[in-house]
């Protein structure tokens, strides 16, 4: 009697446990691919738009309800999408298409980690957005839909997107897996008011030594480190993309050889870059303590530069709006910014040539496992055109990646963005190849060794070559002759 009571009590609990165990995997984020499509879909791609993508995707019949999911993060980007997505739905409805879009908000930090985990578990949204650099690693992993056939049938892509950006978007396999969302022009931003007050020249520095001398003057005048080149591991990809690469582009050497697809992990230019970090550290112009902070951009760009306690920093067009302008928190805004802040181009190692770094910023990507590739591309196309792109550019503070937005409001109301766009064609750029994530890690570690005084620039160059070879594999690296 006692035993049968226990069995009766336990039976529902066991059933519930089994159901919970089986059903657990299907909860949480949406699964557009339904697990049916494999990563191989990315390399096969849709034969032609409008047909079944990669043999796995299916499309809705005309009028059939389709819900797309789009994942993004960072408040201004989310605000932008909240504002424009209803207009897309209306436009689709006017064409007789029943497409709705569900906006998913990603975490403010660790977004790339979340997205990579989503992709690798076939749990990714239909559309997402991130820096172009991540495409080089996600495309060979089979996470992204090959957009080449779609782009071939979209006249705007070849007709209006800047050629340098289209080249940058083309991956090592000759295919394109992303559409530019914005373009960024990076330069040196300096506090004109602070330098003027202290009688320091605001002329364009034409060599690294020139920049260092100017920074020493600023440091002495302000009493705090005057120059910011992101360095160390804490800044993550920023150390590479917002600091190191601008120095590397100012040397005569390449970091990557596209001819044979190898990273050049030892070269005179690379050693010189690390030696320059050493010189900046020795001259005490770098805010080393702040660079070791878990969020190094806060005490430097968000606080010191805003207060005028940091005179010079690397930054991009986004800084005018996102970092210190109208999209920034009030405590980060620099009032009358265009009179207080100005830009220099990056100097080259020995001068006198100077340059700006121009590249694609964030891009739109479609998951290889999407069930609705045509509708997803329709949305990407819409977001990368006309008013939607103009609104995005203004919200983020980005230059337009296409040449026909100059007269489209609200982009037309921000002439400084259009000015930056003009310099895209002559800009220097580094096309992030596969393995960029690993090189970011190595550069972070090497620069950190230098700025903390644990290694000289030359020792850090040896370390970089050794660690990059270990992480990337001997077949993916070479040394400059």
């Amino acid at each position: 009697m006692e035993g049968s009571s226990i069995r009766r009590l336990l039976a529902p609990a066991m059933v519930a446990l089994v159901i919970a165990s089986c059903g657990g995997g299907s909860s949480g984020s949406p699964q557009p691919g339904g697990g049916a499509a494999s990563g191989a879909a990315a390399t096969e791609g849709p034969a032609t738009p409008g047909e079944s993508g990669g043999g796995a995707a299916t499309q809705g019949a005309p009028g059939e309800a389709v819900e797309l999911t789009i994942l993004d993060h960072q408040a201004p980007r989310l605000d932008f999408l909240k504002e424009v997505l209803p207009a897309f739905e209306e436009e689709m409805a006017s064409q007789g298409k029943n497409i709705t879009v569900k906006l998913l908000e990603g975490p403010a930090t660790e977004f790339e980690t979340k997205l990579t985990l989503d992709f690798s578990s076939d749990n990714a949204p239909d559309i997402t957005s991130n820096g172009l650099g991540s495409v080089a690693d996600w495309a060979p992993s089979g996470f992204l839909l090959d957009l080449t056939p779609y782009l071939e049938q979209w006249p705007d892509y070849e007709g209006h997107f800047y050629e340098t950006l289209r080249e940058e978007a083309t991956q090592a396999d000759g295919k394109v897996y992303s559409v530019p969302r914005e373009a960024t022009i990076q330069q040196l931003y300096y506090r004109k008011d602070v330098l003027d007050e202290n009688g320091i020249s605001t002329e364009q520095p034409t060599s690294w030594q020139d920049l260092l001398d100017r920074s020493v003057e600023a440091t002495e005048a302000i009493g705090k480190p005057g120059l910011l080149f992101p360095a160390g591991s804490a800044w993550g990809g920023g150390t590479f993309g917002e600091g190191f690469i601008h120095l590397m582009l100012g040397t005569d050497d390449q970091l990557y050889d596209p001819e044979n697809g190898k990273w050049i992990v030892r070269s005179p230019g690379l050693t010189r870059v690390l030696q320059y970090y050493e010189e900046m550290t020795t001259a005490e112009v770098l805010p080393v303590e702040a660079l070791l902070n878990p969020e190094p951009w806060v005490p430097t760009k968000y606080q010191a530069f805003v207060k005028g306690e940091l005179a010079i920093t690397t930054c991009g067009t986004w800084c005018w709006i996102f970092d210190w302008g109208e999209s920034a928190e009030p405590s980060r805004q620099i009032p009358d910014i265009f009179n207080k802040v100005a830009t220099w181009e990056f100097p080259t190692a020995d001068g006198p040539e100077t340059f700006v770094s121009g590249s694609t910023g964030w891009v739109w990507m479609i998951s290889a496992t999407t069930e609705h590739p045509d509708e997803a591309f329709e949305l990407v196309k819409w977001l990368a055109s006309g008013e939607a792109m103009a609104k995005n550019a203004v919200k983020i503070g980005a230059a337009s990646p296409r040449d026909d937005l100059a007269d489209v409001a609200p982009y037309s109301e921000k002439p400084f963005l259009a000015d930056a766009e003009q310099s895209l064609e002559g800009a220097r750029l580094f096309q992030s190849p596969e393995g960029t994530d690993k090189m970011i890690q190595v550069v972070g570690a090497a620069t950190e060794e230098v700025i903390t005084g644990r290694m000289t620039g030359e020792e850090a160059a040896d370390m970089l070559a050794e660690e990059a070879t270990q992480l990337l594999g001997a077949d993916m690296v070479k040394e400059a002759p």
């Binding site: 035993g3 066991m14 990579t116 996600w138 992993s141 804490a234 303590e289 070791l292």
Partner: protein, 298 residues
Amino acid sequence: MRRIQSWREGLTVAAFLAPALALIGLFTVAPGIWAVVQSFTDRALVGRNAANVQFIGLDNYAQLAGDPDFSASLVRTVVFVLLSAIVGQTILGFLTAYLLATRPRWRLRFSPLFAAIFLLPLAVPEAVAALAWASIANGTEQGFLNRMTGAFGAEPVQWLQEHAMATIIVVNIWRGIPFAMVLFSAALEGISREVLEMSLVDGATAWQQFRRIILGILRPQILLFLMLTTITTFGIFGLVYFLTRGGPGDATTLIGIYIYLQGFKFFEIGFGSAAATVMLVILLTLGVYYVRLMREQA
């Protein structure tokens, strides 16, 4: 403990154990085995290896052995465990419980109130605790600690920059004291009042009573706490990651953070699994050692 008498009784025992065993098997043992298997592969979440996982034998372990960052994180973790868990939490937790416990010739007034206050850190979620400490240890003049030291004329200190390791040790002690206190309080309550009274009648001083009787009786509970706190502190992640992200530099990159970075920042699942397996072996060894000590005490 008696043996199972019949198949019916065996079935009942199995039915009671099954849910717990199923959960542990699904969410602890199976992932553990999976991680050990992955540690012999070059599995990565991105890049070429993502689609073409190869068995690479002991390569990951060889790479770990030659990785100075890994050995440095291990040393850091040992120091952290020793100072924050074994010394800090255990001693302070025990002292707190001892002061709050009622015993012959000792009764602390308002002890329930003090106990409630000491328990508060246990009630705060880990992320909230980390954020609270990030604010307390804020390096500006407005930071709580700096306000306190500033009252004595001291300059503001960047606690999480200049004294990062010391700060996270203090935070972990603060976080661990309540559990130690609860465990030791329960154990102290279990000591017979007569035993303590008799020791005083026999002329033992308070120190002699504490050292020879209380510590002697509580040795199994102390070992149990040491085992639990060593294991949980060795693998600590959230509290430290939220506070310092392993920095400045790698000053607070403990083994848990090192593993996270390998697996979920650099997406090297195989290599990260190898590091996790090494940690698992260390913890199993420590666990077995503590269990043997406890058996000897019993």
